[in-house]
């Protein structure tokens, strides 16, 4: 059976500033109703590069960068990519899951860096599917 799975955030979403709302506003969602800009996806990729670098000396700090600046955008990116290039979405999610497993337990700096490197590259490939230029750091070999 071939079916599509969608994330369950199908409702439209808008902001309001008071209880007395003021008419329609336009949003630009492209991933499950949530607006996502190319810049924010690039920014997440850049943050991953930072986490990759930081993991060499500070795994906990790398974890913080990953969850604060990249994790949710990677979900958005996967959702946007999955209907265009299923394999790219799969590689992205698998790489992300490996990093999450690392950060959930005791991981060596070497392993964390290796898995972050894989995630940086998978993210760059996924951005390419959307014709979004990956940040320069995503194409660079890791600096030791």
């Amino acid at each position: 059976m071939a079916v599509a799975v969608v994330a369950g955030l199908g409702a439209t979403a808008c902001a309001a500033d008071t209880d007395q709302l003021a008419g329609p506003v336009a949003a630009s969602p492209s991933a499950g109703g949530q607006p996502v800009s190319a810049a924010s996806l690039q920014s997440a990729a850049t943050a991953l590069c930072g986490a990759r670098q930081q993991a060499a000396s500070d795994v906990a700090g790398a974890r913080g960068v990953f969850y604060a600046l990249a994790h949710d955008r990677l979900h958005d990116l996967a959702r946007m990519v999955q209907d265009r290039d299923r394999a790219a979405a799969a590689r992205l999610l698998e790489a992300k899951a490996a990093v999450e497993r690392d950060f959930a337990g005791q991981v060596t700096a070497r392993k964390a860096r290796a898995d972050l490197e894989r995630l940086v590259r998978a993210t760059g490939a996924a951005l390419g599917v959307l014709s979004i230029a990956p940040p320069a750091c995503a194409g660079e070999p890791e600096r030791k």
Binding site: A15, D17, D19, Q20, A26, G64, F66, A90
Partner: protein, 314 residues
């Protein structure tokens, strides 16, 4: 009565540099995202809403005020007006794996690293159709709010409390005709099923033996929802504590993510109208009927409470 005007046109254009208007006129630009999977006009629905800032941080902790207005049978094509007819209090529900609140009492803006979750309330919608919700809260010392629209179906689409559980034969670690990744997506890359205790029996076999079941339907690796967390880990932890109360089963959604092939057990339970949402947790009593269900964000305390309501096994 509060009159709400909801911009139903707030959906969809795909544009690389799409600008969000969330901050226009807002104290703090907030976006409300309905995170419920199966809202219906039957009984009490589990309404979940997440609040996200423009810069991708979360509103977490405390409570929010919820107001609901019926907008019409059809999806509004422009501004829609409704009168708030239902109110509720939304209580914060952290995504499993989030750190404990530690003294936080009211809503606060935090990064995804610090905490993430949704606000939950039991709501009885008296009509099917399109509804608007306004979420009001005190944030950083000021009143703030966000609105969203969503659809309420006439009847639930996914098996609900009181329904007979589907007697499905989910894959177990003994399956000979399926790759390990179809048993648990975490095994897709290294062939190791991390929670084998969740893959020892089928829902059908447990029901046949009149054993209660806690079933989590999830895809730990291939989840693309913003709010999915390590829900399978949470259920595995509960399995360690409540093995005497129920069989614990993890049903992996995907047989093959890349080929878009869904496991039959997951499809039977969740595939509706071209869509399949996950994760879900179902608690099934010894009579084979569903006693509780949790869509998307299921917090450990609420699932644990449902398990504790099951009769102890002899």
């Amino acid at each position: 009565m509060l009159v709400v005007l909801l911009g139903a046109g707030c959906s969809s254009q795909t544009k690389d540099d799409a600008a969000t208007p969330a901050g226009q006129g807002s104290k703090v630009g907030l976006q409300a995202e309905v995170a419920s999977y199966d809202l219906s006009a039957e009984g009490v629905s589990r309404f979940l809403v997440g609040l996200v800032t423009q810069d991708n941080r979360f509103v977490s902790y405390g409570t929010v005020r919820l107001g609901f207005a019926f907008l019409g049978k059809d999806r509004p094509s422009g501004a829609a007006t409704g009168t708030t007819s239902i109110t509720a209090t939304g209580r914060y529900l952290p995504v499993p794996g989030s750190p404990p609140a530690e003294g936080r009492s009211g809503p606060a803006i935090v990064s995804g690293a610090e905490n993430r979750g949704v606000y939950a309330a039991g709501v009885t919608f008296d009509r099917a159709g399109w509804w608007g919700a306004i979420v009001s809260l005190d944030l950083q010392g000021r009143a703030n709010s966000a609105q969203t629209t969503f659809e309420v179906a006439a009847t639930h689409q996914v098996p609900a409390v009181g329904d007979a559980a589907l007697k499905t034969k989910n894959l177990t670690t003994a399956a000979k005709d399926a790759p390990k990744g179809a048993v648990d997506s975490r095994a897709a890359t290294d062939g190791k099923v991390p929670d084998p205790e969740l893959h020892q029996t089928t829902i059908a076999a447990a029901i046949a033996d009149r054993r209660p079941v806690v079933a989590v339907f999830s895809t730990p690796v291939y989840c693309v929802s913003r709010f999915c967390g390590p829900i399978t880990d949470m259920v595995a932890q509960l399995a360690g504590r409540y093995r005497d109360r129920a069989e614990f089963v993890h049903v992996e959604v995907w047989r093959d993510f890349e080929k878009r092939e869904v496991n039959k057990a997951a499809a039977d339970w969740l595939y509706r109208g071209e869509d399949l949402n996950e994760p879900w947790v179902f608690v099934i009593g010894p009579d084979g009927k569903i006693t509780a269900r949790f869509d998307n964000v299921a917090a450990e305390p609420e699932v644990e409470a449902a398990i504790r309501r099951l009769p102890a096994r002899p």
